[in-house]
């Protein structure tokens, strides 16, 4: 089975989806990412979808689920690199990507994650995850 690699860079997990995802591979990525967030204590996840030619309702739901699960695990997810044609299609399809933060590129995503970490800074020093400022 195909598997999408999850790379750890500092406190960030980086996923760049370079294949045409089938549904099983999408579900596997969801699981792999959750495991890796817990394993590494990463505070941020960046998912690069610039190679994706389409985002249908299944992949859209995967992105929403990853964002929600990562938040519960004390990590913020940012989706980057959506193609304009994909964005237009998503809106027309009726998919809102609820709760998914997006950025135009990886640089911008890293800025967002750095800010998010600062906001939580004090909480991180005391009891991590128990007294977060809501994001």
């Amino acid at each position: 089975m195909d598997r999408v690699p999850v790379l750890k860079i500092g406190e960030i997990l980086l996923v760049s989806i370079q294949i045409d995802l089938d549904d099983q591979t999408a579900l596997q990525l969801q699981e792999d990412l959750s495991d890796r967030i817990v394993e590494t204590g990463a505070h941020g996840v960046v998912i690069d979808i610039s190679a994706l030619e389409i985002v249908d309702s299944f992949i859209g739901r995967m992105l929403s689920t990853i964002a929600a699960v990562s938040r519960v695990l004390d990590a913020e997810t940012v989706v980057v690199g959506m193609r304009p044609a994909v964005a237009i299609t998503l809106v027309e399809l009726g998919l809102s990507l609820n709760g998914v933060r997006t950025a135009l590129n990886v640089d911008k995503a890293l800025e967002i994650l750095a800010e998010a970490k600062q906001v939580r800074g004090v909480g991180v020093l005391t009891v991590r995850g128990s007294d977060d400022v809501p994001l």
């Binding site: 089938d22 099983q24 030619e53 309702s57 299944f58 044609a85 299609t89 027309e92 399809l93």
Partner: protein, 136 residues
């Protein structure tokens, strides 16, 4: 209805077949010179409908190819299954309604993404959905 030219018949029996169907539709959309946004819309609709054929229809097949209508070229895809069919079409086309675990956007959403959408179904009779996107 205009004739489907040199149709390709693709089985839809698992996840990988859904990927193959959207790849085949993309190749034909490129050949028919559909603009990029329209290619993306059609491929996305094909992905939703192929998944419906797999999950709700219990598998089936797709027929994809070009069509011509006077001066215009277009791409057509048919999705055929012999599954349980759809008893209540109004309900099935309601955004957010689902009998599976999805988001309920497959049918209603894909109809918004194409130029022509035809559905033939009845309870116990299977389902045939035909979509067409025309080059501008």
């Amino acid at each position: 209805m205009t004739e489907l030219e040199e149709p390709q018949r693709l089985p839809i029996a698992d996840d990988k077949d859904v990927v193959r169907v959207r790849q085949a539709v993309r190749v034909i959309a490129l050949a028919a010179k559909l603009p990029l946004v329209d290619q993306t819309k059609l491929v996305t609709a094909a992905s939703e409908l192929a998944r419906n054929t797999l999950i709700h229809g219990g598998g089936g097949h797709a027929l994809v190819g070009q069509v011509h209508n006077g001066r215009r070229a277009g791409v057509r895809a048919e999705f055929v299954d012999t599954g349980p069919g759809i008893a209540d079409l109004d309900l099935a086309f309601t955004d957010g309604y689902t009998t599976g675990s999805g988001l309920g956007l497959g049918l209603s959403g894909s109809r918004r993404l194409v130029d022509e959408f035809e559905i033939v179904t009845a309870a116990g009779e299977g389902t045939r959905i035909t979509v067409t996107k025309w080059a501008r």
